[in-house]
């Protein structure tokens, strides 16, 4: 892969809305990515392996639970800082961002919000420093878009719970130390349990054959009569709303992350179009290429504006789930379209792994599917504005 020449694009001077510390956090993440990840990411993708040695570095730039209070090892930052870190990670690779956002929003967030004080003390500092890696088990082989139909369940055995079932498509599963698992109790109500590696009957087979998100490890979680200590149940919230609130946090991060992927594709396409000559002039001089580039920066700028606003609303605790759905859906779709257009601008070079565009494009197929598919987010908006549930 060629040297990472990425530079940000800020057509509407959005940086003026950031604090100096926001910019320092973003630029730090960007510098770390360029130094430590860009040189190795193509190889990791090709090999289909998450580069685990990066965990410590992700922790050091605040990539694990930046908004978690400092007393639990987090950085106590605001939501815009979290968004900016996600943007910079996904600018490099969606799989890198996935590892970070799963740990932050789907593991640390529920333990912080719904866990006991003992659970927070026990898990959060290690997750923040990267000593522990976590995963989030909601999806099952037969229940993806409809997680409420899950069959993973636990029984109260008096001094412990007995957990049975299987989760599928779980990011970080193959090497996670802890899993936040959503399962039904005997009355059919959903609760979150913290399952730890080493518990008898708990295994995490790796899923292979992905054409997307190859630099992130995905696996199954299998529970065969796993004895889970009672103190590992998160008592703060139950019902489907509990996992969905975690998804809100993660989807918010994805909305920022997708802007990063789009920016990278645009940045490369713009530079390439200015340098590449055909018919004796740079291809950037042709109207057809300008249309593509101009539309890309327009879409990116729109996404930057409304995602920043979403960040403000989240800082104030006012962002609704439906607003987050809209941003996740819009931005990922925007990014995938920009990746496709950018790839064409590079002509044949667009399909070579010397440039990251095709990798972004393939990655974004997962991103547009997980954390609620493109269709599902549309239905969420539809339900929000009409009051009619079109899911079933």
């Amino acid at each position: 892969m060629r040297t990472d020449q990425y530079q940000g694009h800020d057509y509407y001077l959005m940086d003026d809305l950031l604090t100096e510390e926001h910019k320092l956090i973003r630029d730090t993440a960007r510098a770390w990515v360029k130094k430590e990840v860009s040189p190795i990411i193509e190889k990791a993708f090709e090999e289909g392996k998450f580069p685990r040695h990066l965990i410590k570095g992700i922790a050091e730039i605040g990539g694990f639970g930046p908004y978690i209070p400092t007393e639990y090892g987090g950085a106590g930052l605001d939501q815009i800082s979290y968004g900016l870190i996600m943007q910079e990670l996904e600018r490099c690779d969606s799989g890198l961002r996935s590892t970070s956002s799963v740990q932050s929003s789907l593991v640390m967030y529920p333990i912080w919000k719904y866990g006991t004080e003992e659970q927070r003390q026990k898990f959060l500092p290690g997750l923040a420093s990267g000593e522990l890696v976590g995963c989030f088990g909601l999806t099952e082989p037969d229940h993806g878009s409809n997680p409420g139909g899950m069959t993973t369940n636990f029984k109260d055995m008096g001094d412990h719970y007995l957990l049975n079932g299987a989760k599928m498509w779980i990011s970080n599963a193959p090497f996670a130390d802890v899993a936040v698992v959503w399962a039904k109790d005997e009355s059919g109500r959903i609760h979150g349990l913290i399952v730890e590696r080493g518990m008898e009957g708990f295994s995490t087979p790796t899923m292979t054959g992905k054409w997307s998100l190859r630099a992130s490890d995905t696996g199954e979680l299998i529970f065969e009569d796993v004895k889970v200590p009672k103190e590992n149940l998160m008592p703060g919230r139950s019902g489907l709303g509990a996992p969905l609130s975690c998804l809100d946090s993660a989807r918010y991060g994805i909305a920022w992350g997708a802007i990063g992927a789009a920016l990278d594709c645009y940045d490369i396409a713009l530079r390439y179009a200015k340098e590449r000559k055909q018919f004796d002039r740079p291809i950037a001089g042709f109207q057809l290429q300008q249309k593509k580039l101009a539309e890309m920066i327009t879409e990116i700028t729109k996404a930057q504006l409304f995602t920043h606003r979403l960040g403000q609303l989240r800082n104030e605790g006012r962002a609704t789930s439906a607003q987050i759905s809209m941003a996740k859906r819009n931005n990922v779709d925007m990014a995938i379209n920009i990746a496709r257009e950018a790839r064409q601008i590079l002509g044949g070079m667009g399909i070579i792994n010397e440039y990251p565009i095709m990798r972004h494009m393939m990655n974004l197929e997962s991103v547009i599917t997980y954390e609620g598919t493109h269709d599902v987010h549309l239905l969420i908006t539809g339900m929000d504005i009409t009051g009619e549930n079109a899911f079933k």
Binding site: Q7, E20, L24, T28, A31, I61, T70
Partner: protein, 246 residues
């Protein structure tokens, strides 16, 4: 060990360079400013490494207005202990050196480190001028700096080789590539930088001796012609007949 590192503000290398006011002012609109890389990557990082190995403290000093605070915070996030900003608009190198010397003369610094130049005007003279003001030894373009007891062992690149210098007692040094490796701040550093002291001190009564009359952009680079590596005859022909340089 008491180390002073001079930190200046420079436009990011990807900035678009433009001028205003009839080509007499650099147009800062839309320009991102960064810590001058020679100050940050080499002088500051080596200062921090020496402090980590030998104890003491690293202070940064910057001549500039409040607009320099973001780059000063970054230096603190990377690991400086405290920062001083001499509160006046940055003038020519002579005035900057005089300001820094006026501040440093009553302090007890074991060494004063600068980058070999700032990537705005690339003058590369501030370090030497500080040394002159303070009557200290000056070692320019240093690529290595080690402390051996109280003695500094310094390597500098000279034409065709390396010169190794020993300095006993306080000195001023300008750091070049090779002195240290870039350090990316971490979140802990960024958080700590919030509360590290940034002292704003009044400027000494110093004026610039030079003024900029006008700026001009360099001529655009001409087209690049690629010549096959197996065909040096063609290269010679082009240099001779087209470029007319042979």
């Amino acid at each position: 060990m008491n180390i002073l590192v001079c930190i200046s503000k420079a436009p990011d290398t990807t900035s678009k360079i433009a001028f205003t006011d009839g080509n007499t002012k650099f147009d800062e609109n839309g320009v991102q400013f960064i810590v001058n890389p020679y100050d940050e990557w080499y002088a500051l990082v080596r200062g921090i490494e020496l402090k980590e190995a030998n104890g003491g403290s690293v202070t940064t000093v910057t001549v500039g207005g409040a607009d320099a605070d973001p780059i000063i915070r970054k230096a603190l996030a990377i690991g400086a202990d405290k920062a001083v900003r001499i509160d006046t608009a940055e003038g020519d190198p002579g005035s900057v050196a005089a300001q820094i010397a006026a501040y440093a003369k009553d302090q007890d610094f074991d060494m004063i480190l600068t980058g070999k130049e700032t990537i705005n005007y690339n003058g590369g003279v501030v370090g030497g001028m500080i040394a002159e003001h303070l009557d200290l030894p000056y070692i320019s373009l240093a690529t290595k700096l080690d402390m051996n007891g109280g003695v500094a062992e310094i390597s500098r690149e000279v034409q065709g080789g390396v010169e190794v210098v020993e300095v006993d007692g306080p000195f001023v040094l300008s750091a070049a590539k090779g002195m240290a490796e870039q350090r990316i701040p971490n979140m802990r550093g960024i958080m700590a930088a919030r509360t590290k002291p940034l002292e704003v001190v009044p400027a000494a009564d110093v004026a610039s001796n030079t003024a900029i009359n006008t700026y001009a952009l360099p001529e655009e680079k001409g087209d690049c012609t690629y010549v096959d590596a197996d065909n040096p005859a063609e290269l010679v022909r082009l240099l001779n007949e087209e470029a007319k340089v042979l």
